[in-house]
């Protein structure tokens, strides 16, 4: 078609206006504006891209058609976790973060963006209550980044390099943290015992060259650390810092790490009001006590409350902006950029809706369903729980005794519409339950696994010597 290209997203493609504007600035064509781009760098052809779908209806049909090829967890029975969790998101959360005012804002100032400042300050405050800490950042990207930065902070504060890693850490998270801090810190791993920290072994390795003990709770397998205070005391005795990576979802019922001596508490807020989004909706929090030594090492923005010219009125602004790379480039602490503010607003709304009672009930449901699922699966012959710690939401089973592999279970159960968990090694399967996983769902998983175990046993029997091994020996 020869008609001019006019696009709804680009008002000044309207030909008359375009000509008028060129005329106003005295340009013959838009080519004039590119005078500084050397001819040999000019592309000189159209980009080789798919045919566009300029009519909205055609675009919608195309994209929806692609997405229709996804089969979401609403149509599968999912026991997947390992960093992204399926929690219920109250509708009010989505309503608030879907508001154009929040969704499309960016970096406005405290006056015209008063609402954004207040919403994020409230997020900080609500998280502060949940975590019993006085300082919480505007969210960074995710729990990976938050923990990497938390450790880096510990390094800067102490001027030391050694970090004792007390817990099982999610492999991807460890990958991130390791690459992020390796110039500044050395990670040393102290194997956990029964899912939680080997306090004695850690104490034995502590010294005045240790920057931090790093605890993850819940750990990679969902184990809840129950000896934080001992670790904190030991760390503090040598001037080291206790950095706790955690998921805040349990602190309606669990004691927050700050009340057990943690100095830096960090983690991910995806569990607090964010959908799974194929792993694409994470935000990182870093919480510290109100101690300038710690606060001044935080790279993220921190919003603060302040008085105004009107008595009794409160306004908001940036706390200690000079910490940041916005202010001082490489002299700032790490860097700050577009991260996850909207998710922070979401988490704030979520906590406001849940209230103390809701968070308590949620914590209880999670503990109860986890324990129930552990019993249901652990009771299957040949399957055992990998440890005896308290678990929140996730736990691992070892399926070797049933003659199965973790990936074999996954493959078999996917055919039944079940995602039974995430394999970790040949025989370990990490299973996740949340408040959206009902008793019936867990029972269905247990039945399906029982079926596999039985089939495996039958197959084993058929390939064994006619006189089968006694059952007892195989458990």
């Amino acid at each position: 078609m020869n008609r001019p290209f006019v696009h709804p997203y680009i008002p000044n493609t309207a030909p008359d206006v375009r000509a008028e504007m060129l005329d106003t600035v005295g340009a013959a064509s838009v080519e004039d504006f590119y005078a500084d781009v050397p001819a040999d760098l000019r592309l000189g052809r159209d980009l080789d891209l798919p045919e566009p779908l300029v009519a909205e209806q055609d675009l919608a049909r195309h994209v929806s058609g692609l997405l229709a090829r996804n089969v979401p967890t609403t149509e599968r029975l999912s026991f997947l976790g390992q960093g992204t969790y399926h929690h219920h998101v109250p509708a009010v959360v989505d309503e608030v973060i879907g508001r154009s005012e929040f969704l499309t804002a960016y970096a406005g100032e405290p006056y015209e963006d008063h609402g954004r400042f207040q919403a994020l300050w409230q997020y900080q405050s609500l998280m502060g209550e949940l975590l019993s800490m006085d300082v919480v950042n505007v969210p960074t990207y995710d729990g990976f980044q938050a923990t990497a930065t938390g450790l880096a902070m510990a390094g800067r504060i102490t001027g030391r390099r050694r970090v004792l890693v007390a817990s099982d850490v999610l492999p991807a998270k460890l990958s991130k943290v390791r690459d992020y801090v390796r110039v500044h810190l050395d990670l040393e791993f102290v194997d956990p015992v029964e899912g939680t920290a080997d306090v004695a072994a850690i104490v034995a390795r502590l010294g005045d060259d240790v920057a931090a003990i790093w605890v993850e709770t819940p750990s990679r397998t969902g184990a809840v650390e129950h000896r934080l205070q001992a670790l904190a005391d030991a760390a503090h005795a040598v001037g080291a810092i206790l950095v706790v990576g955690t998921d805040p979802v349990g602190y309606g019922v669990l004691t927050p790490p700050a009340e057990q001596g943690a100095d830096i508490v960090c983690g991910d807020i995806q569990s607090l009001g964010l959908h799974q989004w194929y792993g694409g909706a994470h935000g990182g929090f870093i919480a510290v006590h109100d101690d300038p030594r710690f606060v001044m090492e935080m790279p993220s923005r921190l919003f603060g409350l302040a008085t105004t010219d009107v008595p009794g009125e409160v306004g908001f602004g940036d706390v200690a902006y000079d910490r940041t790379s916005f202010a001082h480039r490489e002299e700032g602490k790490e860097w700050v950029g577009t991260a996850a503010a909207l998710w922070g607003i979401a988490a704030g709304v979520h906590l406001a809706l849940m209230g103390p009672q809701g968070m308590r009930e949620l914590g209880e449901v999670l503990l109860a369903r986890t324990a129930y699922a552990q019993r249901a699966l652990g009771a299957i012959p040949g399957i055992r729980l990998t440890d005896r710690a308290v678990h929140l939401r996730e736990f691992a089973i070892d399926v070797a005794g049933a003659g199965l592999t973790a990936s074999g279970i996954v493959t078999a159960l996917r055919a039944e519409g079940i995602e039974p968990g995430v394999p970790a090694g040949e025989h370990e399967l990490v299973v996740c339950v949340t408040e959206t996983t009902s008793q019936a769902d867990i029972d269905r998983l247990a039945a399906a696994v029982t079926g596999l175990v039985a089939a495996s046993a039958a197959e084993a029997a058929s390939t064994l010597d006619p006189i089968a091994e006694p059952e007892e020996h195989r458990a």
Binding site: V96, E112, T308, P356
Partner: protein, 506 residues
């Protein structure tokens, strides 16, 4: 609205949302799980979250939203460097489906073909747009992508045995601060170059700074001044000549889409701020999305996991041995990737070029209107065109009236306009940076210029009006000095109650 802090709205006993009950069968099986917790693990005092009915929580946040000036509501050209553009509502509708929001990243890839194909296709389009060989959408924002750039560069030099030797990164003062900051975080010494007298990047200075110690140059082009470095290929060649890599911050790509490409100038690695250039909403400051595009030589170092095409299926491949590994969880900010895909598909090659050309036309049109305002100037490159933005200066007006750029920005909010005053470091005095993008009509640009002209007039004729702004906001002139004093700052309600007991008691 004069909406209180949410904690003041609490009424004991009210509930905002109820949690599902523990089934009797579960309770019977496991007993009282809280009572059974090990010593010290059961929380003693409930967190002091507010207790509110659902509608009151909603009303609170809806009112707060109305106290916020989203990009959908104003002529948002005042946040220069941020590429504020229209984030099409159709994309919000398209992603609002459980078929995306309820997907778990570890599901069977056979159940995620739609998501994987969109990621793959988006990466391929960005490869074409940048001229690069491989693209990853794994990172969560522009600065995270900058981090990935330097992390890949570091890994590359280490793989080549150069890790110990190459300890320096060179950037320019008008490149985004995160280039300097991320390089520092990665352990590099940072050398920052200033422009020549005309505001153009200084090739001679670069050559003086380059050495076998140089790991990389990390530059933006056009820079935040809107000036395109015409010697960009010479910059890259000079870096390569000493064995350094060239990393291109394409945060300012909006004016050059389909015009010129990173790889064509010889860059080894570049990144896009997908949330800026490719039209995803800015979310009050995130989530963003970064794209890292690299030459074949750097491809093994891309972060992971990666999405690969095998025949007509899409699979997930874990990061390879040379990869810098995960920067964040899984595949990046998937909702933004789908939005960006839809945005590009709505425009195509012709549309992307229209984006660039119109953004540039709008910028040069607005520049003409702004320079007509007495007291406003555009330092550097006098008489030349700019690409997609201009860093202006109110220095003349300031000298004449004492009114600062920050005061003008605050006053602009009274007219319903955004205007960003933070342009550290203040190399340009009394700076303001306008980036009109392609999204605004001539009428809107005129409206914006008229507002600034009016404020400049006020600065001369009734400076008190400007100085005491804001006048039409829900909040008034705020005492930001409090926020730099550890004794007075209050980052949470807890801290506020502790530090200002009399205020809270009221």
């Amino acid at each position: 609205w004069d909406e209180p802090v949410i904690f003041e709205l609490s009424t004991p006993g009210e509930r905002g949302v109820l949690v599902t009950s523990i089934e009797p069968g579960v309770r019977d099986a496991v007993g009282d799980v809280v009572a059974a917790l090990p010593d010290g693990l059961a929380r003693q005092a409930a967190p002091a979250l507010p207790e509110m009915g659902q509608m009151r929580v909603l009303k609170h946040y809806l009112r707060l939203s109305q106290e916020n000036l989203g990009a959908d509501f104003n002529v948002d050209v005042g946040q220069g460097t941020c590429t504020m553009k229209y984030a099409p509502k159709v994309n919000e509708r398209l992603i609002a489906t459980p078929k995306l929001s309820a997907m778990h990243p570890l599901q069977d890839p056979a159940d995620a073909q739609g998501a994987l194909e969109i990621i793959w296709r988006t990466e391929r389009m960005l490869a074409e747009i940048s001229g690069m060989d491989e693209v990853s959408l794994h990172t969560q924002g522009g600065s995270a992508a900058i981090w990935a750039n330097i992390a890949m560069i570091r890994a590359y030099h280490e793989a080549n045995g150069d890790g110990e030797q190459r300890r320096e990164v060179i950037t320019t003062i008008f490149s985004h601060p995160s280039n300097a900051a991320a390089a520092k975080a990665a352990g590099y010494d940072v050398i920052t170059l200033h422009p020549d007298a005309d505001g153009y990047p200084d090739l001679a200075a670069l050559k003086r700074a380059l050495s076998p110690r140089t790991a990389a140059i990390m530059v933006t082009n056009p820079e935040d001044t809107g000036i395109y470095n015409p010697a960009i290929r010479e910059w890259v060649d000079a870096a390569h000549a000493v064995g350094a890599l060239a990393s291109y911050d394409q945060a300012n790509a909006n004016g050059i889409l389909g015009i010129t490409r990173a790889r064509d100038a010889g860059f080894d690695v570049c990144h896009f701020n997908v949330h800026k250039t490719f039209g995803t909403p800015h979310g009050s400051g995130g989530p963003g999305t970064g794209a890292n595009a690299v030459s074949a030589a750097l491809a093994p170092f891309l972060p992971g996991p990666r999405v690969v095409r095998e025949g007509d299926r899409y699979e997930v491949r874990e990061a390879g041995p040379q990869s810098i590994g995960a920067i964040g969880p899984f595949h990046g900010v998937v909702p933004n990737i789908v939005r960006a895909y839809a945005w590009m598909m709505a425009l195509g090659a012709e549309g992307l070029r229209a984006v660039a050309e119109t953004a540039v036309l709008n910028n040069n049109y607005l520049m003409k209107r702004i320079l007509e305002i007495p007291g406003a100037s555009a330092p550097y490159a006098t008489g030349r065109r700019r690409i997609e933005q201009v860093r202006y200066s109110w220095q003349e007006l300031f000298e004449e009236t004492g009114i600062t750029s920050e005061e003008i920005g605050i006053r602009a909010s009274d007219f319903g306009m955004h205007y960003w005053t933070s342009h550290h470091p203040y190399v340009v005095p009394q700076p303001f940076t306008l980036e009109p993008t392609e999204s605004y009509s001539k009428a809107e640009l005129d409206e914006y210029a008229d507002v600034l002209a009016e404020i400049a007039r006020e600065a001369r004729e009734t400076p008190e009006v400007v100085r005491t702004a804001p006048h039409h906001q829900t909040v008034h002139h705020t005492h930001h000095d409090d926020l730099d004093d550890p004794e007075r700052w209050a980052v949470t309600w807890r801290a506020y109650r502790r530090k200002y007991p009399q205020a809270v008691g009221a």
